[in-house]
Amino acid sequence: MATTEMTGAEIVLKALADQGVEHVFGYPGGAVLPIYDEIFQQEKVKHILVRHEQGATHMAEGYARSTGKCGVVLVTSGPGATNAVTGLTDALMDSIPMVCLTGQVPTHLIGNDAFQECDTVGITRPCTKHNYLVKDVNDLARILHEAFYVATHGRPGPVVVDIPKDVQFATGRYVGPKNIEHKTYRPKVKPDQNAIRAAVELIASAKRPVLYTGGGVINSGTTASKLLREFVALTNIPITSTLMGLGAYPASGKNWLGMLGMHGMYEANMAMHDCDVMINIGARFDDRITGRLNAFSPGSKKIHIDIDPSSINKTVRVDIPVVGDVAHALEDMIRVWKSKSLSLDKKAMDAWWKQIDGWRARDCLKYRKNADVIMPQYAIERLYELTKHMDTYITTEVGQHQMWAAQFYKFEDPNRWMTSGGLGTMGYGLPAAVGVQMAHPKSLVIDIAGDASVQMTAQEMSTAVQYRLPVKIFILNNQYMGMVRQWQQLLHGNRLSESYSEALPDFVKLAEAYGCVGIRCDKPADLDGKIKQMIETPHPVIFDCRVASLANCFPMIPSGKAHNEMLMGEDVPDEEVGTAIDAKGKMLV
């Protein structure tokens, strides 16, 4: 049919439209001009012009994580592609579905060190789930649809499609997305029923069970969160979550222990350490979670539900692996639990909950209030209290503010919390907020930021202004790279090497220079009023919240220590801070 013949650039736009893509985050350049020419001549796909390609990738991540859809990025060859590498790696580490289209020099110039040429597929091979170089325009449509299939099926991840300029100009056949899947890639989503039965039986026999959930629950979709809540209600098992899994179970739920791990809650980490059955759902025993591996939850049998078989037994040996999608696994577990009318030992569970309540009484997030200086914890508490009734999405950068946000902001629903967990990318939050706001124009989107992180991608404020995206950048400004400083205090004799934020910009003037609103607050008494002012402002806002400069983030499992060796906040004397980590721990990150 004549109608299915079109140019490569037309194929790209047609494929995006057929995949239901509404927004593409990108930046033009020589090697993608034919595609940009097509963007100009159509209206189905809206292009968001970023200021730096890294910004485009984080926007796509925020967009993807807040909607459950695939984020799409379009960048040019050479520097366009290399600038996208950080965001691609971030998406790989946090399992975010993303398709990144990169322009490439014409096929006959590949390998010639042409202008703006780089080996994109070579560079992105280890930081994508899969990548393609399209050498024939007749393969383009299939590869594009396949890219979306690979990015969104199984454990999600970023996929790069590198398209040489001559392929964009060439005329070829278009095929629709129907029935396009990968030739051989068929991730297993339905778990083995024997494993499910074994898992359920082990849970039913538990005396001190704990649920340890992760980003896999969020990635599996909202059904998974519903089923998780149902399973918790059914069994009354205490539940904790990783940084990436916050919101899957509501923070107001009575079984909620709070986040676990290095800066997790005392009760969550103690429950992990002392449990007899651990049910890991969609988490991966990351080193921020486990602490010292050979002292990790020594007395427990472990169940691990994960869609990626390579996550199983990678660092922690488990007793019952369940390979499959979280929602499918939970559905099966609930069905088996109900059909056998199982229940946990009431007496043992009462004792377990009593013990947990004892740990909760430690009140591990306690901090010294101050009437003159804004404590960073207080700032987040107030931000939460003043925004909790609203339709709010939170993103963060990376560092102390990120951990305080995770500790003090309470999430009730999945997809409301966007943060860079695996890669720990400073500069993630601002562009991610822009991406989230693009997907949810009417919602309140706040980037809880640090003064150092925010400067890494601050240029994207310009994008927010251009597209009238009223993101709120709430900077906990302590004039330090706080987490770096905290580690220098813990590990390096308080020698604060290069962790002071010298020559910070005036954030209020910076906001004004970008054409948005700047607010500064340095008194606890003014905080509520100014946060309200920020919320009510219908424009992008940079909020410079001047907080106590030397506050540290506790509780903390020092590196190389076990879950039951946490440093608590208030009661850490300075000398103990200096000796909390031994020589072996110092070698770790």
Binding site: D192, P309, S310, V316
Partner: protein, 186 residues
């Protein structure tokens, strides 16, 4: 049920102080597309796994399917992890651990150039006969032998040639296949 399920215990009970290093032969069926070998090698270098030997060739031309045979070494847990990491790659169809499956035949081919005269030359030829190595090139002062067999046989033959005037060795690396009527899952 999964093989892994048979092994109970948690991290606490394992004794990490004496991990036993094992050598395994893995057969990997992949789409023969550009970059697939780089992907596999990149996995090994990126995650710090060892490659002792690697061979690759297209085995089904119409389907563009290649077979990669990798000899790798590591602890039992690392070997299982390597297998799973290979399996999650998009162009990988299937992975078989020939060492775990047992009953596998592995072979390697080497071409061995030996130069010398007199008694050494005669001895080289005699040993080649004993090892069933074929002479594929001969001159008045040199031979090239072709030897096929398990790696240790090839290894031994080469070491015997050292005092007899070994000049150069070219080895293909290991190829492996399981015994019996069944083929490998594609």
């Amino acid at each position: 049920m999964n093989v892994l399920q048979a092994a109970p215990g948690s991290a606490y009970f394992l004794d990490p102080s004496k991990p036993e290093i094992e050598t395994h032969t893995l057969a990997v069926i992949v789409d023969n597309e550009p970059g697939v070998l780089a992907r596999v090698i990149g996995l090994f270098s990126g995650r710090g796994y060892n490659i002792d030997s690697l061979t690759v060739s297209e085995t089904q031309h119409e389907k563009h399917v290649s077979r990669i045979t990798i000899v790798t070494s590591g602890t039992a847990a690392v070997i299982v992890q390597i297998k799973h990491q290979l399996e999650r790659m998009v162009p990988v169809h299937s992975v078989a651990d020939l060492t775990v499956q047992g009953q596998a035949i592995t072979r390697e081919l080497a071409m061995v150039k030996v130069a010398g005269t007199g008694e050494k030359r005669v001895e080289a030829l005699r040993l080649a006969d004993a090892f069933r190595a074929r002479v594929i090139d001969a001159g008045t002062t040199s031979f090239i032998f072709e030897i096929t067999g398990k790696s240790d046989k090839v290894e031994q033959f080469i070491s015997l040639m050292v005092p007899l005037g070994l000049v150069e060795v070219a080895r293909t690396g290991v190829a492996g296949i399981t015994r019996g009527p069944e083929g490998m899952k594609e």
